[in-house]
Amino acid sequence: MRQFKRVAAAALFGSLGVAMAGLPAIVPAARAQAPAPAASGLLAQGEYVARASDCVACHTAPGGTPFAGGLPFALPMGTIYAPNITPDAQTGIGKYTEAEFARAVREGVRRDGASLYPAMPFPSYARMTDADIHALYVYFMQGVKPVANTVKASTIPWPLSMRWPLIGWRMMFAPSVKDAQAKSARSFADPVLARGAYLVEGPGHCGACHSPRAITMQEVALTSADGTRFLAGGGSVDGWIPTSLRGENRTGLGRWSEDDIVEFLKAGRIRRGSAFGGMSDAVGHGTQHLTDEDLHAIARYLKALPPDDTTQTPWTYDATLATALHAGDVSARGARTYVDSCAACHRTDGQGYPTVFPPLGGNPVVMDKTPDSLIHIVLTGDILRATHDAPSAFVMPGFAGRLSDEKVADVVSFIRKAWGNNAAPVTAQDVARVRKSLPKEEGEAPLPLN
């Protein structure tokens, strides 16, 4: 999810494009008082809320101490760095009172009164309960070791570095805590659905990636009550396209069962597909640590979201191209490349070897209207990360150095067409665009050890 926020922040600045003078409002804050030592139950609850909120993803530098900040967000006009949220008094959040902490998390206002960049998903966190915020605060103050780490200053030059225009953004697009909580408390027939709504819309901030955004970068819908655009698939996140989490048959979760979703969020791999791109981090840091009850709540809630795109015909397996490949006929566009470079793991019948190598036939990512994720993974490869329940990681090699734009376009078009997928073909220009837009990796991600 960190990738998303880099992009979102970049786009935000691009669209606001402000260059005005002014002073940020300084709000005096009472000095934080050391809270009494918390019961271990409260600490555990706070840690759990931190997992559900995936704080660690953004507030940890690659290879750094968890929560000590420093993850860079490269923007066109400079780089910002995620702050240190360990309870160190000088460099972290040690001086925050619980009220100041709550305001930062839910309203996007720093202790000194300055606005946070909306890379922080406070429009979602706004609906977090006081009890969860309390537990989270106690966890950060007492369960996390203070780390003295002065995060690098933003390299954005003045006047773009001024934060006060963000106040306007907050006022226009971020809900107040009262409104957000009221909305989250809307009535659900099933308490499990209510819990699911809270987790998905609140701490889980799924919409940050999976909901579309307006030109001014706010999510067009923050809850399922705001219409079917909520979680209908998001914009590019480092070249990955978050899929719809709604009921679309082909590109959403229409064919996934509640148990499929639960297992996916736990192990990152099910018979229907494997987590990759930004979702690897979301599963690794976050969802795999949630209880089965909460995962079922999330899954049941997602399964209750009707499709946004109501035009999709149900996907059914079509063996035509698989039969041709099996007979040695590689005349279809991209078929030869597919057999040479993909079929060992994904099979000529497109069914893969789940849950080790995912299927491509019927895979929502493959059929997405925007082919970027598929092009991206063919170019760079990716890693299915180990989880607690599934300790094996699997690496897909990248083909950027071996296949031309034309060949990638051919094979991606083949994959999008075969096995009943019938999604639109892609062009070499599409591939060139994605190839060009791939972010430069900052530090190699550690390779799996299996």
């Binding site: 060992a344 080790v356 599934a390 990681a393 699997f394 690496v395 390779l447 050890l449 299996n450």
Partner: protein
């Protein structure tokens, strides 16, 4: 170079291969804190097995990327005790591994259970043929364990390795077309057998036709995707043939790296230290208790790691070397015929037969699986009457097409007598590579009084330690066994319709020649048994002399076997671990009282 003393741990495990990984897993499950020391680098599929760079025959099998660095340590070799041994400086006859995964990363994947009669070989031969049948100078021994003792551990190892195969009998009931001679199993293989490649299928039909009993070789190359009891996963084998000498990019060849370590690395009780070269096991003043091990870390610091329990689980001859360097057990003296460490050093007796077919028959030798194929056991173990034949031992025979790649194929060239270069060589390659089938007699090598391991009096390794010396030669009993079994192969190649055949047979009086690859199946040298006069380890692989040292590996085999050793090593590791967990840890001390 500093001298460092580490915090004491419950157990230190020497070697990051199969045996070490199994023991480390079992001991951490029992709540022990474990440090595993591996002298080579850490290795993984993501680095060594990264496709497509990893499928490089030159780098893998000719420059030996994941094998032992012979510029640092090696062995010296001679044929007979009256010769001066010389160092083994280039990889050829055998290929020991190095790095996390050990030989378990570069192996092929042939995964057998030991034949029951092989475990009680001395008893069986005496009973069937009389004691006089045993030739002068042959040290024939029993293991001190039976197949029934080991069966649960064979079963466990197969489930951890994701072994593909077809059973013959499960709990005494015939269940399939597996090996007619194999002992009954408590459960089927975890995965179905790999498919026959074409040449193996021809061999299967022909062997059946002449009255032998062909079966699918059990292979730790997964025939389908698989999740083992530790929750770790394997991909399915795609028959690419890059098994032996490579990390499998499909995650389908079992290795400690893929099958065990993912479940260990995150365990806070476990620590793996790579590039830690163990120099010796330290003993207290009584020489009956180990206090820990001394090793060199990657910076060259000498480090002492204290531990209550020491597991010596490096490769076969490194285990023997470490025992000799550490003073654990009495070194073997072939003249006085006393001592046990270095005694009963054995190898494997393998020869390859080639059959050539008409050009209309395509055998596609470039594909294959390291462990799969078709075998028959009619001349292995005690499956046939040795009485009239006058030798001890036997060989399974198989087509184990592991994928003959370009360079290897070019080196093999055409039939014997073909030039190794020029147009005649080219023509022979074109005529034969696609149209031949190779089959092995994969036989036993017995233990002999004048075949042994000891410390070399002349040569030292890069760390200043005396090198291990091998004194090894082929013996008449084993040459005659090989020639007999290979003569039986001729019946099969005839039934296959071969247009020409080269029977690979040992020649009478043939000497061991280190220049040509044979196999890395070295065994013995610190063997298990019931008698401390003829074994270095008791039946639980515990040193008779230093009871908090267990030595796990093929070093424990009293004599050679017709099968590949890994299945037996893994079962012995689980067997030993089981008794450490259930008995030793509760009351440390000798598990066998004399």
């Amino acid at each position: 170079m500093a001298s460092i003393k580490m915090k004491s741990v419950d157990a230190v495990v020497i070697g990051g291969g199969w045996a070490g990984s199994i023991l480390a897993k079992e001991l951490t499950e029992a709540g022990q804190s474990v440090v595993m020391l591996e002298r080579g680098p850490d290795r993984s599929t993501a680095s060594e097995g990264a496709y497509p760079g990893s499928i490089d025959e030159l780098e893998g099998n000719f420059r030996h990327k994941i094998f032992q660095n012979l510029s640092k340590t090696s062995v010296t070799i001679r044929n007979t005790p009256d010769q001066t041994a010389l160092p083994y400086r280039q990889m050829a006859a055998f290929l020991p591994g190095e790095g996390v995964g050990g030989a378990g990363l570069h192996w092929s994947g042939v995964h057998f259970r030991m034949p029951p009669d092989d475990l009680i070989m001395r008893t069986k031969v005496k009973e069937k043929y009389g004691e006089k049948f045993i030739p002068e100078g042959m040290n024939l021994q029993d293991y001190g364990v039976t197949y029934d003792d080991l069966e649960p551990f064979f079963d466990k190892a197969e489930k951890v390795f994701g072994t593909s195969g077809e059973a013959y009998t499960v709990n005494g009931q015939v269940v399939g077309k597996g090996n007619f001679f194999a002992p009954s199993r408590s459960d089927n293989f975890p995965l179905p057998a790999l498919k026959d490649v074409y040449g193996a299928n021809m061999f299967r039909k022909a062997a059946e036709e002449v009255g032998f009993h062909p079966y699918a070789m059990p292979a730790a190359n997964a025939s389908a995707q698989y999740t083992n009891p530790y929750g770790v996963q394997m991909g399915p084998c795609n028959f690419c043939g890059y098994c032996s000498g490579y990390a499998c990019y499909m995650y389908s060849k079992a290795s400690p790296n893929v099958n065990i370590l993912p479940a260990l690395r995150n365990d806070p009780k476990f620590e793996l230290r790579a590039e830690a070269h163990v120099l010796r096991v330290e003993l207290d003043s009584t020489k009956t208790k180990a206090t820990g091990v001394t090793y060199l870390d990657r910076k060259g610091n000498e480090v002492f790691q204290p531990a209550d329990l020491v597991i010596v689980s490096a490769f076969q001859f490194h285990n023997v070397h470490l025992m000799l360097l550490s003073g654990i057990g009495k070194p073997y003296d072939p003249v006085a015929n006393e001592g046990v460490v270095g005694r009963n050093f054995v190898y494997q007796n393998v020869t390859t037969t080639t059959a050539w077919f008409d050009k209309s028959v395509y055998t596609n030798q470039f594909i294959g699986t390291g462990g799969g194929g078709v075998a028959f056991d009619d001349f292995n173990s005690e499956n046939f009457d040795h009485g009239p034949l006058g030798f001890i031992g036997g060989s399974p025979v198989w087509v184990n097409q592991a994928g003959i790649k370009g360079i290897a194929a070019a080196k093999i060239g055409g039939p014997p007598g073909t030039p190794h270069w020029g147009s005649a060589w080219k023509k022979a390659m074109v005529d034969t590579y696609q149209h031949s089938v190779r089959m092995d007699a994969h036989g036993t090598n017995m233990a002999y009084r004048d075949v042994y391991l000891d410390l070399d009096p002349t040569w030292k390794d890069a760390y200043g330690m005396p090198m291990l010396r091998m004194t090894f030669d082929w013996k008449d009993n084993d040459i005659r066994m090989n020639r007999y079994v290979v003569s039986q192969i001729a019946k099969v190649t005839k039934a296959m319709g071969a247009r020409d055949v080269h029977l690979g047979q040992r020649q009478p009086g043939e000497h061991f020649d280190t220049r040509f690859y044979q196999t890395t199946h070295l065994a013995g040298g610190a063997v298990m048994g019931d008698d401390p006069k003829t074994s270095a380890l008791n039946r639980y692989l515990q040193s008779w002399d230093v009871s908090n040292v267990f030595v796990i590996g093929a070093n424990a085999f009293p004599q050679g076997t017709g099968y590949n050793p890994t299945g037996m090593v893994a079962a012995l590791a689980y067997w030993s671990a089981h008794h450490i967990r259930t008995t030793y840890l509760k009351n440390p001390g000798p598990l066998v009282q004399l």
